[in-house]
Symmetry: C2
């Protein structure tokens, strides 16, 4: 319309944009932000409003170029397998995450939202305790170790260089509007050395719109650094999302228990 | 003497044996333990009671072979520079430390003593707080990040595989019986982005015999996992060594303040 000014949108770079969490975020916020998506090798399906650029998070120079003009980075790319072997963890989750923080810092990016995981403290989960951001560091896998590494690196870049870094210990985001079948599959067999009770599956779940909203709130916050658990508003709970609600304004809409009868 | 039985000595593998902490430990305990020392490239000067074997902690296969018959590993090898660049941190401190834990686990070694550092929480130090093992994780350098990584990995190997892992957040061990000249040097110029007050230099110091004794107590303890600060019994203190005294039986003999007039 004549005379109408389109508000400038924040430029947000997303790594791992074609993963489950990346797709959930994009579906909900591709019109709100100006999204730049990284793809590696396979060209990515994207909407017309999304910018798509080739880069490899394990190749610092290729990643660095993608940071120009970026105001916030949502770093989701990783080997997401809880039983991922060391060689892959080293390359994707350790080197890749260092490259993201360092490239963001060098281009003066103000904010990094880092996808950590409940596996950072998986062995701190007991029958009786609600596990929150201050739980003792007890990763249940090399994957979990790599997520603690990313949080630690984020704390360093925040303290030393003034980046705002929000780490989200995400529960389980299968990327499905109805996770009933996903729950049944996980309960039917042994996925790793870790076992999942129905209570734990419920407690871990986060819906697409809830994870998207949580990432949005993490981008918008003025906090310099924080670690938060991210699940939907499930009952029973294992992970404490109180701080995410209070400090980030996270307002989850969904509940896993209705999908596990 | 005829009829006298020599008690069997525990076989202890030492990485970084030619560094300042390694030398301090060996000088005090080479007769108490049966020490196996790793050298890489440069052949190492060693006493006749010490076994010396070539290996590279960044080469898993070469390291694995050195674990045979070993009951405890004292892992000191690292890039020790607080301003070490990422490439070196990655190779020596991250990959090297993973290799040590994994190789020890595969050979059924029961104990790993890991040389962590006060830099794991260097940015948690304030004017008023005594920083102990439960301080928030706030590394002051990539070096500090790498030490948190080693502690995290140690926690994982302890929880998952039953290794006993003791992490020592060592203060500053210049390897000198009289650190007066060392203190003067540090106070005269800027070493890194970190600054050192006389109070901090005093608080960080650990003498040769104290670090050797602390490593000895860490080998002998039945604790499954622990993180402890390691300094001499200096005044004033910045780091809390109470738990090392109570849980490990650490009994420091020296005080830095007598060397800084």
């Amino acid at each position: 319309m004549r005379g109408m000014v389109t508000p400038r949108k924040m430029k947000v770079l997303v790594t791992g944009a074609s993963g489950r969490i990346g797709r959930a975020f994009r579906e909900n916020y591709r019109d709100y932000y100006s999204l730049r998506l990284i793809y590696h090798q396979t060209p990515m399906e994207a909407s017309a409003v999304e910018e798509v650029v080739p880069a490899d998070i394990t190749d610092f120079d290729s990643l660095l170029k993608t940071m120009e003009g970026v105001e916030a980075v949502v770093h989701l790319a990783a080997d997401p397998r809880v039983n991922a072997p060391w060689d892959s963890i080293l390359k994707l989750n350790l080197v890749g995450t260092y490259n993201v923080f360092e490239a963001a810092y060098r281009y003066g990016v103000k904010k990094v939202v880092f996808a950590s995981s409940n596996h950072a403290c998986g062995f701190a989960v007991t029958e009786s305790n609600l596990v929150g951001p201050d739980a003792p560091i007890r990763p249940d896998s090399l994957y979990g170790v790599s997520k603690v590494f990313g949080e630690t690196l984020g704390r360093y870049y925040a303290d030393r260089f003034g980046l705002s870094v929000i780490c989200l210990r995400i529960g389980s985001c299968p990327g499905l509007d109805d996770p009933s079948e996903h729950f049944r599959m996980l309960l039917s067999g042994q996925r790793t050395h870790l076992t999942y009770s129905p209570q734990k599956l419920i407690a871990m779940w986060i819906s697409n719109r809830d994870i998207a909203h949580l990432i949005h709130r993490s981008i918008e916050t003025d906090l310099k650094f924080g670690i938060f658990y991210g699940t939907s508003d499930n009952t029973p709970k294992i992970f404490d999302i109180t701080e995410a609600k209070e400090k980030l304004g996270y307002n989850p809409q969904d509940k896993a228990e209705k999908y596990l009868k």
